[in-house]
């Protein structure tokens, strides 16, 4: 078991004919992901890595019984692409694209909510379930091994860093999930905790957060009240100055809110073991599992 992505997931790649879409479709296929179709309006009839391309998500879904979508469409068109996937009832909808206008994000997130669909991202590395050999993601598959720890994060390479550390320490992952680096994302930290809570095969959680907003504080409060399994946390940006966006649009300390100190305190208060360095995550997991 796992969350969001499992052996039955059948994926559509929106923007499959673009550079990123083509490259990562190849990487996903190599990993084992069941990509059943691609979509690029106006390019029906082409094929990429042997995958048929359609003009619309609806046609692609009808022809190949797809269940999920991953979006590589450029930012000005990504909001529309997500709306199209949501309209076709694909679930989850994983939006890899960075720099999507926040107004478009708000629209897609609430339309998905209304229909009970999970949007992951935008600006996410995606979702990977190593046990099912399926990734709807740009994550490098080889750093993740199958196991019982749920991993969620607001960043990409930091997630790989921590996953690689876990793999080296012999700790496997049920599902690893990139929540996205933007201020407004579909699946939130607290919602991700709730999903993992329902998964019987996830026996511990790693929550990788960063400065900006208070998603980690909210998740920590929820964990304190409701979640009985071991949790390890890490917060990036302890030394970030206020008022500067640290790469991610969402990673900014505004006034006194969004600081790493507040997040670490909330995690400590909730009984979460907080790692000082990425490599401490695997060590702490060994101690508490």
């Amino acid at each position: 078991m796992a969350i969001l992505v499992n052996k039955d997931t059948r994926v559509i790649v929106q923007g499959i004919t673009g550079g990123q879409g083509t490259f990562h479709s190849g990487a996903m296929l190599e990993y084992g992901t069941k990509i059943v179709a691609g979509v690029t309006p106006g390019k029906a009839g082409e094929s990429i890595h042997g995958i048929p391309v359609f003009d619309s998500v609806r046609e692609a879904k009808d022809a190949h019984d797809a269940t999920a979508s991953i979006i590589f469409v450029p930012a000005p068109f990504a909001g529309d692409a997500a709306m199209e996937a949501i309209a076709a009832d694909l679930n989850p909808v994983v939006v890899i694209t960075e720099h999507v206008p926040v107004k478009d994000e708000i629209r897609m997130i609430h339309e998905a909510k209304r229909k009970g669909i999970t949007v992951i991202g935008p600006n996410t590395p995606g979702v990977i379930t190593p046990g099912a050999k399926q990734k709807v993601a740009i994550m490098p598959g080889h750093v993740f091994s199958a196991g019982e720890v749920g991993l969620m994060s607001r960043s990409g390479t930091l997630t790989y860093e921590i996953a690689a550390g876990m793999t080296n320490a012999g700790i496997g992952i049920s599902t690893a999930l990139g929540l996205g680096g933007d201020p407004c994302v579909g699946l939130t930290t607290i919602e991700a905790v709730k999903l993992f809570e329902q998964d019987k095969d996830t026996k511990a959680l790693v929550v990788v957060g960063e400065i900006g907003g208070d998603a980690e504080e909210r998740a920590a409060a929820y964990i304190k009240k409701n979640y009985d399994l071991p949790v390890v946390g890490f917060i990036a940006g302890r030394t970030a100055p206020p008022g500067k966006r640290m790469g991610h649009a969402g990673a900014i300390i505004s006034g006194s809110s969004g600081t790493a100190a507040a997040k670490i305190k909330a995690m400590n208060d909730a009984g979460i073991a907080v790692a000082e360095k990425p490599s401490d995550v695997a060590r702490l997991l060994k101690e508490i599992m």
């Binding site: 206008p101 960043s155 407004c184 990036a236």
Partner: protein, 381 residues
């Protein structure tokens, strides 16, 4: 993109939102001229993209054009939060009955716009939230419907306004929402929104930030205001051009990494070992040899940099590519300070071999690399 007060007010006026009469001045003489045009006592305000302008002395009231000239001279010579004041705004000084706060921003948790109002304007919303949270009214905007006129009136009522003021202030909030919607605004504040003694509502201040990711939709406007969306130094500009995220800090170790989270974590690791970072440089996904070399070049342009730490977690990126980029930067003579490389992941062995042959030290863990670079930076400093 942050707008200057006069730019924001131009948008306000185009939506029929009243602002005090006045204009921009770049010299004291111009300021005097504007004050004569206003023909009444004026306020002289520094035009800077920074909050806390009033506290820094960047807002002064002048009774005569001569006084306006003198204050303009003082303010134009100031730096506010380390930003030069290149122009001032001269506006009629209003007879104030009441100062109000009006703003719209994004609630990250709800993923909705939120309209904020308070009858106790004048101070910062953060102070207000701390001292009298009950005086702040917040209304979330339905993502499908937008902010409705009746909601805007409800806002005015909740803020304690009565009679015809309900419609007047309601209309102000509605216009503000229409601006947010039209210009992809991520934050706007009018503080204070003035209720003048003569009963008019006017936007005395204006803060307006447009979502950077939406700027492609607002090219006409950016062209009209005749300036670059963001003020950047040479290094920041080069980083933006190369699609890298770059932030300067006050330490002396440049951290060049791939991915924002990893770069932040690397800065933190440097600090754990007693060092201080000068540079946050995120090369982004798919960093190839050219990007690595370019990143090092940009980092070296900042005079604070006394040591460089390259930390790469190679997923899509390949370590041999990174190694070639480093080699090329060194051979071009770009690297004039101690350098530590740490990289793991795809094609790690190949990358290691390239560096070994070139005699460039290479470490396997982030911890070792961070502690090593701190040591080297101390030796140089």
């Amino acid at each position: 993109m942050k707008l200057f007060e006069h730019e924001a007010k131009e948008i306000f006026r185009s939506f029929n939102m009243p602002t005090p009469p006045g204009g921009v001045a770049k010299t004291p003489a111009e300021a005097k001229k504007r004050a004569v045009e206003v023909g009444k006592p004026v306020v002289v305000k520094a035009l800077v993209l920074s909050g806390k302008r009033g506290k820094a002395g960047g807002v002064k009231f002048a009774d005569t054009p001569e006084e306006a000239e003198k204050f303009a001279e003082e303010i134009l010579a100031m730096r506010i939060n380390d930003l030069p004041v290149e122009a001032v705004l001269i506006e009629e000084k209003l007879d104030i009955q009441q100062e109000i706060y009006a703003g719209i921003t994004i609630d990250r948790n709800e993923r909705k716009y939120v309209v904020i109002g308070s009858a106790a304007g004048g101070m910062s919303i953060e102070e207000l939230a701390e001292q009298s949270p009950e005086k702040i009214i917040k209304m979330h905007v339905d993502p499908n419907l937008g902010f409705q006129a009746y909601e805007a009136r409800e806002m005015a009522i909740a803020m304690g306004f009565k009679g015809k003021q309900i419609n007047q202030l309601g209309s102000f909030f509605l216009k503000l929402w229409n601006i947010v919607d039209a210009f992809d605004v991520e934050l706007t504040e009018i503080n204070p929104l003035i209720l003048a003694k003569d009963g008019r509502f006017l936007a005395a201040d204006a803060r307006l930030n447009i979502d950077d990711n939406s700027l492609y939709r607002h090219k006409d406007f950016i062209e009209k205001i005749k300036r670059e969306p963001v003020e950047q130094n040479e290094r920041e500009r080069l980083a933006t051009e190369n699609d890298m995220a770059y932030v300067e800090l006050d330490g002396n170790i440049a951290c060049i990494c791939n991915g924002a989270g990893l770069t932040m974590a690397t800065l933190d690791a440097v600090s754990v070992y007693g060092g201080k970072a000068s540079t946050f440089l995120d090369l982004g996904g798919g960093a190839d040899a050219k990007r690595v070399e370019r990143g090092i070049e940009i980092a070296m342009m900042y005079s604070n940099v006394k040591a460089i730490l390259v930390n790469i977690m190679a997923g899509i990126t390949r370590c041999d590519d990174v190694a070639r980029g480093i080699l090329s930067a060194r051979d071009d003579g770009d690297i004039k300070v101690p350098l530590v490389i740490r990289m793991v992941g795809t094609n790690e062995e190949e990358g290691q071999e390239i560096l070994n042959k070139a005699g460039i030290p290479f470490l396997k863990t982030m911890e070792d690399a961070a502690s090593k670079i701190v040591e080297l930076a101390k030796e140089v400093a």
